[in-house]
């Protein structure tokens, strides 16, 4: 290699680093972790139904059709923000939304649902956050799409708004429903 050519080695190395790190930082996308549970079955659980406070619910109660699973809590400000959108989806989209009431006070949670209306087919009380851990949840709100066999196909971290529903979630729901026909 001539001396002139070798002058470009640092530049080439710099460009390689820039491209590599550029991609790397894009993947991190601030706070959104890549989910380790995509395409894995919904973890099993035994948790009390929030409304009845008695009845035990398990993963089988969620499986059967394409559905949304939403992790929420009254302590979570973004859950209030996304709530109207969830109500709209449950009203207009003919899709079940199951709630996981994450690390919450049951009495407060029921009051909250009364105040803001209840979009959930039912919610379970995950008082200790064990189901949330099994789902790889690290905050709230988080929303999962499960297919009719109970496999997790999509995860969204953060509030669901009209844009997220239209661009990220609905296409997956439509696709999964298309597979069933």
């Amino acid at each position: 290699m001539s001396f002139q050519k070798s002058l470009f080695i640092p530049l080439a190395a710099f460009l390689a680093m820039t491209i590599f790190l550029g991609f790397g930082f894009q993947l991190e996308n601030a706070k959104v972790l890549p989910s380790a549970l995509i395409d894995k079955p919904l973890p099993n659980f035994q948790l009390r139904d929030l409304q009845s406070g008695q009845m035990l619910r398990s993963a089988d109660d969620l499986i059967g059709e394409v559905a949304l699973v939403n992790v929420w809590g009254t302590w979570c400000p973004n859950c209030v923000i996304e709530h109207p959108q969830l109500l709209k989806i449950s009203r207009e989209q003919n899709i079940k939304i199951f709630g996981i009431n994450y690390r919450d006070n049951n009495v407060e949670a029921k009051k909250w649902l009364k105040k803001y209306k209840d979009p959930y087919a039912f919610s379970v009380s995950d008082d200790e956050g064990t189901l949330a851990i099994d789902l790889g949840v690290y905050g709230a709100p988080e929303t999962f799409i499960i297919d009719k066999s109970g496999f997790i196909r999509k995860r969204h971290v953060g509030p669901v708004n009209a844009k997220v529903w239209k661009e990220e979630l609905k296409p997956v729901v439509d696709y999964l429903r298309g597979l069933e026909e």
């Binding site: 590599f20 989910s35 549970l37 064990t130 949330a132 851990i133 099994d134 690290y138 905050g139």
Partner: protein
Amino acid sequence: MLFVFLVSRGTVLASIDAYPFPNKELTDRYEELISELRCPQCLNTNLAGSDAMIAQDLRREVHRMLIEGKTNEEVLDFMYYRYGDFVLYNPRFDLKTLALWLSPFLLFILSGFIWLKTVRTEKETLPWEEEDEKKFNEILESRSD
């Protein structure tokens, strides 16, 4: 001064929930695990150093698994299965982390190669022979006048 020390020490200990273990070996393993697992919510703090809700829950799970007699590897698997590479400060070797693990070695080899090249080029372009010595001396003498 002593008071400040005691108070600050108190707050440091307060952030770590006191989980009872039957023996020192388990306590040590607990400390080791929570220091080498990253809190999923807090970008760069380990489980030991975070007060986030999820960190508290995960410490509780680590404690539970150790009491149940799980090995360190099983605890790490549990976390890895749920939170992926992110939770491990010591990432696993697989296809996704290949570049991460191999790049230091590749860079080392590459830099060695560049170094060798540079040394050789220098030798080629700067031969120091008798003629140069003569010229050099001539210049020195002409300057000293």
